[in-house]
């Protein structure tokens, strides 16, 4: 009923195209993360971290140092340089001091970001065409939910990039988005169609987007919590081998703060999801709360994040233990989205698959 099939096909093609570009972006980002920018041997005693742009500007830059002896003549530099070098004023001062071109060190990351922008554009275009093909809200089943959530992760990441150099997350972001799109087009795949009467209500404009936003925010918080845990370990005992890049990431304290702030915002939006869901339930089923499978798990997620916020204010809970609770939180979110949608019977049977 009222479906533009041509646009729908375009949407699917755009998803495949976006996946292809994300795949390349992932590989390119991985070259950055596992490449010299993160792994080259720098002179001892230098506390180098992948800069956040603001920090780099404040402290000015530490310029490149040739560590010829240890790395066989290769020129290495701290990662701060590249960020400041992008800044015209700063780079002028630094350029003559540098014996090498520090920008080159993160060439891969720049290519990766450019590819992510391209993939993100294709991704958003797939959502737009899918929306136009049915002329309704583009979040009425599991596939569309995941399609939009992953797009928001990418857009959020790119916006975040404008404020801080978090390109070390690029590898993880592109990989997870690639996986989610893969699920969208297979396990979650739902042909375009109009919505069922149970979903045909203005609350779908409120409840679902906030739920998607919460998922995205809590996911970003969790991914940073994970990096925080790795970084925390590397602070006491630096990694060797594949995980060497961790040693150069921002300090675990900074990561913890970002992760916490995201989780706090996520808790508020999740609370809103829950309450808006209760309002919708009242007009759909006659009661605002009925312990439906989805309601149970939304409640479980909420309580786990409430526990997380309390844990952070509890003496005796180390930052690492709190971060673990954050990971438990995202596990419940993912469980709520996948297992509950696909395998549990309940009133929220909107998976569409």
């Amino acid at each position: 009923m009222d479906v533009n099939v041509v646009l729908a096909e375009w949407s699917n093609l755009l998803i495949y195209s976006a996946m292809a570009v994300y795949a390349v972006a992932f590989i390119v980002y991985a070259f950055d993360l596992f490449g010299p920018a993160f792994t080259s041997d720098l002179a001892d005693g230098r506390e180098t971290t992948v800069a956040d742009a603001a920090g780099a500007r404040r402290t000015r830059t530490r310029t490149a140092v040739a560590a010829g002896a240890s790395s066989g003549g290769a020129t290495t530099a701290t990662l701060d340089d590249e960020v400041t070098a992008d800044d015209d004023e700063d780079s002028a001062g630094d350029a003559d001091e540098s014996s090498a071109r520090p920008r080159d060190l993160r060439r891969w990351a720049r290519v990766g970001t450019a590819l992510t922008v391209l993939a993100g554009a294709l991704h958003v275009a797939s959502i737009v065409t899918r929306t136009l093909s049915v002329m309704r809200v583009p979040w009425s089943n599991m596939m569309e939910y995941a399609l939009i959530a992953s797009a928001m992760v990418v857009v959020g990441y790119l916006i975040f990039l404008a404020y801080r150099d978090v390109r070390y997350l690029g590898t993880f972001v592109t990989l997870t988005v690639l996986l989610v799109l893969g699920l969208c087009i297979t396990v979650f795949y739902t042909p375009v169609a109009q919505v069922i009467p149970a979903l045909d209500n203005y609350w779908i404009w409120i409840h679902v987007p906030i739920a998607i936003l919460s998922t995205v925010i809590l996911y970003l918080s969790a991914i940073i919590a994970l990096v925080q845990l790795l970084r925390s370990r590397s602070e006491s005992k630096p990694f060797r081998g594949v995980l060497r890049f961790v040693n150069r990431l921002p300090g675990s304290k900074d990561l913890e703060k970002i992760s916490y702030r995201l989780a706090a915002v996520g808790f508020i939006t999740w609370t809103f999801t829950l309450v808006a869901g209760a309002f919708w339930a009242e007009i759909a089923w006659g009661r605002y709360w009925g312990w439906d499978a989805k309601e149970i798990w939304t409640f479980v997620v909420w309580v786990v994040y409430a526990a997380y916020l309390h844990a952070r204010a509890t003496r005796g809970w180390t930052a690492n233990r709190v971060a673990l609770l954050n990971l438990v939180g995202i596990a419940t979110v993912v469980f709520n989205f996948t297992v509950v949608n696909l395998y549990f019977n309940g009133l929220h049977a909107y998976a569409g698959v």
Binding site: M1, A193, P197, D200, F267, V275, W285, D292, A307, G352
Partner: protein
């Protein structure tokens, strides 16, 4: 050594404090953050079984089936209330403990906060350098001299302008802001308590009733006209809303254009109803998500299905039954099952068990199935039974099930079970002079829920409190700031109370505003600018 001593002392105390003391000790433990945290984690885990096992409050039939199929395990699960998780003793225990912990936490904190709000910000500690944020700026230089008074006046005005509460001590200003953070925190926790109380009260005063209404039928709102009715403990039947509801027409539509999983999905359920109340008559479109609200009660369209209209006659042609029979849809293509009981049939009572296929088709194995939910090519297939329907025994019977123990299934001449296969308009003669059956037409029916919850409206202010409180408690920064003149230096120090990402920046900004040389054009706010002008260098 140290810890051993203290535990030893604690044990000695525990022996002395008696029962009341023990209770006080337990309450104190319960109100700690650590206890709240543990209880939250336990609550999350306690809620999970309700999603894994069928629950009585939602599907009592599924619970019965589960217990039957699992024998001893099922009975054990039942004994530990795993089929009634949310009313179980253990789940209640967890959330009641959590509520006690909450109250025990809110009360003293409210007292503390009340006192803090009426007190001046605390004086500066002796060594401000120990504060998390600290900076200095010179009081005077070669060109400009400022007295302590001038500087402190300016600092006080500046801090007041940025929303700090300030107090002047002899050599410094003490300032504090962000009291709303704690207020919000307390309001949020209080709103959780209110929410739990409202949820508990909702079940006590309201009611919940169900009724199936076939097209053309009218439902007079009274206890006897319900198919099922569940009142709350304190529900007063005299307060039942007075109205009559007629289902004029039910229109449904299903998707026959979409592909894959979306084919056959419902697209429209519109019930056209007439509502008669004391105020008059009105027409409504009753749809999913659009309940009809009448006098504090709410009527919901919860389900729908087909009701074949069937007429049975005895051998003489006298009508023994005529009317719609409600069939329950079993799947997405509305393969529906139903039962017709004809106690007035002669010479024996008759029972029919039928399957209705709205759009008949054959599957790969040649069996009859329904391929679409709309009535495109309906077919009714029925088994026929004769004997005693068991309606006179006084035992309640489901209208959707035949008690076949005292019935005998009719057979064809060749000895196989007799099956009536009928399209609308068809009439079938029954063997042995049992009369005939006519399948007249198919009507649609609506399954309605009627609910009443007089305390539900209180959820609205509770939720407003919840969000207001939550936003304040997580986003307002609470911090103390001191500005002190010590010698020829002005010290500015800040102390974050709780999460405050900006405390260092804020101290930096205040120091800049108080600096001798007018700060660079990056001055932070308009109000700060005007402060400088009035301060008049």
């Amino acid at each position: 050594m140290e810890t051993q001593k203290t535990t030893a002392r604690k044990q000695a105390q525990a022996a002395d404090i008696g029962v009341v003391g023990m209770l006080r000790w337990a309450l104190r433990q319960l109100t700690t953050m650590r206890a709240a945290l543990m209880l939250l984690l336990v609550l999350a885990m306690a809620a999970i079984p309700g999603s894994l096992l069928p629950q009585r409050n939602q599907d009592p039939g599924a619970v019965a089936t589960y217990i039957e199929e699992n024998g001893a395990l099922g009975e054990f699960l039942d004994a530990v209330q795993l089929f009634d998780v949310y009313t179980s003793v253990w789940f209640s225990a967890v959330y009641i403990l959590l509520m006690v912990s909450l109250v025990g936490c809110i009360l003293p904190r409210t007292r503390q906060h009340w006192r803090a709000m009426r007190q001046d910000p605390p004086r500066a500690p002796r060594r401000l350098t120990r504060m998390s944020a600290h900076t200095t700026t010179p009081l005077s230089d070669a060109t400009t001299t400022r007295t302590q008074e001038e500087l402190l006046d300016r600092a006080q005005a500046l801090l007041k302008g940025s929303g700090y509460r300030t107090v002047r001590a002899d050599d410094h200003i003490a300032a504090e802001r962000g009291y709303l953070k704690e207020t919000g925190n307390l309001v949020f926790h209080l709103s959780i308590l209110v929410t739990v109380v409202i949820m508990a009260a909702g079940g006590l005063f309201g009611y919940y009733g169900q009724r199936v209404l076939v097209e053309g039928e009218t439902f007079s709102h009274s206890l006897v006209s319900y198919d099922s009715f569940t009142p709350g403990t304190f529900f007063d039947a005299d307060g039942l809303a007075d109205f009559r509801l007629t289902l004029n027409d039910l229109e449904t539509a299903f998707d026959d254009e979409a592909t894959g999983s979306q084919f056959g999905q419902p697209r429209k359920f519109d019930a056209e109803v007439t509502l008669d109340t004391a105020e008059g008559t009105s027409q409504f479109l009753l749809r999913p998500n659009e309940p009809v609200r009448v006098d504090g009660s709410r009527v919901y369209l919860i389900g729908n299905g087909y009701a074949p209209v069937i007429t049975t006659r005895d051998a003489d042609g006298n009508v023994t039954y005529s009317g719609p029979v409600v069939f329950l849809p079993q799947d997405g293509v509305y393969t529906s099952t139903g039962v017709l009981k004809v106690p007035d049939a002669q010479p024996d009572q008759l029972g029919f068990g039928g399957v209705l296929l709205p759009t008949v088709d054959r599957n790969d194995r040649g069996e009859l199935i329904s391929s679409f939910a709309e009535l495109r090519n309906p077919l009714l297939v029925m088994d026929v039974y004769r004997g005693d329907l068991g309606l006179d025994t006084g035992m309640p019977q489901s209208v959707y099930q035949l008690e076949t123990d005292t019935l005998e299934q009719l057979t064809d001449t060749d000895g196989t079970d007799l099956q009536l296969v009928m399209q609308p308009g068809d009439t079938a003669e029954l063997p042995d002079g049992l009369g005939s059956v006519t399948f007249d037409e198919i009507k649609q029916y609506a399954a309605l829920d009627v609910l009443h919850d007089p305390v539900q409206v209180w959820m609205l202010p509770a939720m407003a409190m919840l969000f207001g409180g939550l936003a304040l408690s997580l986003f307002v920064a609470r911090r103390r700031v001191w500005v002190r003149v010590s010698g020829d230096q002005v010290e500015v120090a800040g102390l974050a109370r709780g999460e405050d990402p900006r405390v260092e920046e804020a101290v930096e900004e205040i120091a800049q505003e108080l600096a001798l040389d007018s700060p660079q054009p990056s001055s932070t706010s308009a109000s700060a600018d005007s402060e400088q002008n009035t301060a008049g260098k």
